[in-house]
């Protein structure tokens, strides 16, 4: 039941977006953060065969079934997280990057992230003045159950603060910022550990960037109805 094949025709020199019918699962093994259960991952494989040629391309990814919700608590002002309907007590660490010379090997990521899991952490927050972390980082966060809070590249360097005063309106090229943000989302969005996108470090990005990020990252109406509670993002 977890195998689907669809026939389609693609005109020459054409790029198209294709949505497959939803694939049904009964009681899938859920992905849980570190300390709450197993980090169950399914292998999703997609193959396209072309008549007269054979297999033309393939793609695979380890996918975790999980539902992550977070809201700002009106009483405490703090952010609350739920995973698969269960409240999570966040034990998090601030992450900038693994190495200042960007020697970011798989082995290094595995050791660093396993170390944080062994410390009983369940979240890493990637600071806005650091990196949009790499797929290998997210892969090991998927494996070891570290939720990831990923910030975009906005800090006190880009809000008119500091001495000398920084540019008050973010990076000079807002279109480039959004292009990089959209591409980063596409690169990382399938990882089970990815919990939250944040505009920047301890502040709100310039108005146009913030509006564009909020618009692009809002939940699709279909999934809003599935969640059944518009307060949950």
């Amino acid at each position: 039941e977890h195998l689907q094949t669809h026939e389609l025709s693609i005109p020459p020199k054409t790029l198209l977006q294709y949505t497959l019918p939803p694939l049904f699962f009964y009681k899938p093994n859920l992905w849980w953060p570190n300390g709450m259960g197993k980090q169950s991952l399914y292998n999703v494989g997609i193959t396209v065969d072309v008549k007269g040629f054979g297999e033309s391309d393939s793609w695979s990814h380890q996918f975790g079934f999980r539902k992550i919700e977070s809201i700002i608590d009106s009483v405490t002002g703090g952010r609350l997280f739920k995973v698969n309907g269960q409240c999570v007590f966040i034990r998090g660490g601030n992450w900038i990057l693994s190495d200042g010379l960007l020697r970011l090997s798989k082995k290094r990521y595995m050791a660093d992230i396993k170390f944080h899991a062994d410390m009983n952490f369940n979240m890493l927050r990637c600071w806005g003045g650091g990196l949009a972390e790499r797929p290998d980082f997210y892969h090991y966060c998927d494996i070891y159950g570290l939720l990831v809070w990923q910030e975009f590249w906005i800090t006190g360097d880009v809000d008119g603060r500091g001495v000398p005063v920084s540019n008050p309106n973010g990076p000079l090229d807002h279109d480039l910022f959004m292009l990089c943000a959209r591409d980063t989302v596409k690169l990382l969005r399938n990882h089970a550990s990815l919990a939250l996108w944040v505009g920047g470090n301890e502040q709100v990005p310039p108005k146009d960037i913030n509006a564009a990020l909020k618009n692009d990252l809002k939940l699709h109406p279909f999934f809003m109805s599935v969640v059944g509670n518009t307060a949950l993002g």
Binding site: P12, D57, D183
Partner: protein, 262 residues
């Protein structure tokens, strides 16, 4: 038929400071390729940074020991040209009819010129973006392909005040790049501002139809008893004829060892 899929180009790279290389990108990738790691060329760290390459070759002391960082020239004092570097490698890829090849850079800081077998492409600015070039018509069917990449540092590397401080003079924030590199309360300034090919380089070989950026989302009902996997993807037909395709989605879970449940 050449095996399809992705091949990572992470070995055999050379690097040289751009001001010490007389040849042009076209010459480097046609008539005058570097012969090996002899000056001004050196073994390069790819993926990695220019400072990583210099450290690897012991041309600068390791900046993370003691006060070694003080002995390394900062880009504010040296100028951007000092940390503008050539990276060079070769690879073989003899694809057959109806196959297509893309050259992929998962991230470069900050912009670059790419030369492949004498052909030039510009990789525009931005530290956090992927670049993918269709090089099918540029590849040599037999033998080595020559690839040279001229990597430029961020446009606004900024300068570091004598007293240091949060983010130096904040100039780096004008670019879409990582900002800790001008130094922070927990970090010394990174002298090259992390200039380099800092993430994976690969070639991907496909047939006429290519898959891009699949998006997987799950939805749940009845207290997680029922779940649906929603899949959207982009398909590009690079051929000049109508492609009749079979698209297959398969989800498996590993039970134990190499035994999978379908």
């Amino acid at each position: 038929m050449v095996e399809m899929g992705k091949r990572v180009l992470d070995s055999g790279w050379l690097a040289a400071r751009s001001t010490e290389v007389a040849a042009t990108g076209v010459q480097l990738t046609t008539t005058h390729p570097p012969s090996g790691p002899s000056a001004p060329w050196m073994e390069a760290a790819v993926p990695g940074t220019v400072l990583g390459t210099l450290t690897k070759n012991k041309l600068v002391p390791d900046p993370f020991y003691g006060l070694n960082n003080e002995a390394i020239l900062d880009i504010a004092d040296s100028g951007r040209e000092y940390y503008t570097f050539w990276f060079f490698t070769t690879f073989e890829c003899a694809m057959k009819g109806n196959q297509h090849v893309n050259l992929n850079f998962r991230a470069i800081n900050y912009s670059a010129e790419v030369y492949l077998n004498g052909h030039k492409e510009i990789l525009p600015k931005g530290m956090f973006r992927r670049h993918s070039l269709d090089v099918t018509d540029i590849l040599l069917p037999d033998g080595k392909n020559l690839l040279a990449v001229l990597v430029y540092p961020p446009d606004h590397p900024g300068s570091i005040p004598p007293e240091g401080g949060q983010g130096g003079d904040h100039e780096i924030g004008k670019d879409v790049a990582t900002q800790y590199v001008e130094g922070w309360d927990w970090m010394t300034p990174i002298r090259d501002r992390n200039t380099g090919i800092w993430d994976e380089v690969s070639i991907s070989i496909t047939g006429p139809v290519k898959i891009s950026d699949p998006h997987l989302v799950s939805s749940f009902f009845d207290g997680f008893k029922r779940a649906y996997l929603h899949t959207t993807l982009e398909l590009e037909n690079k051929s000049s004829w109508l492609a009749q395709c079979s698209l297959t989605l398969q989800v498996t879970t590993e039970l134990e060892g190499n035994i999978s449940l379908v």
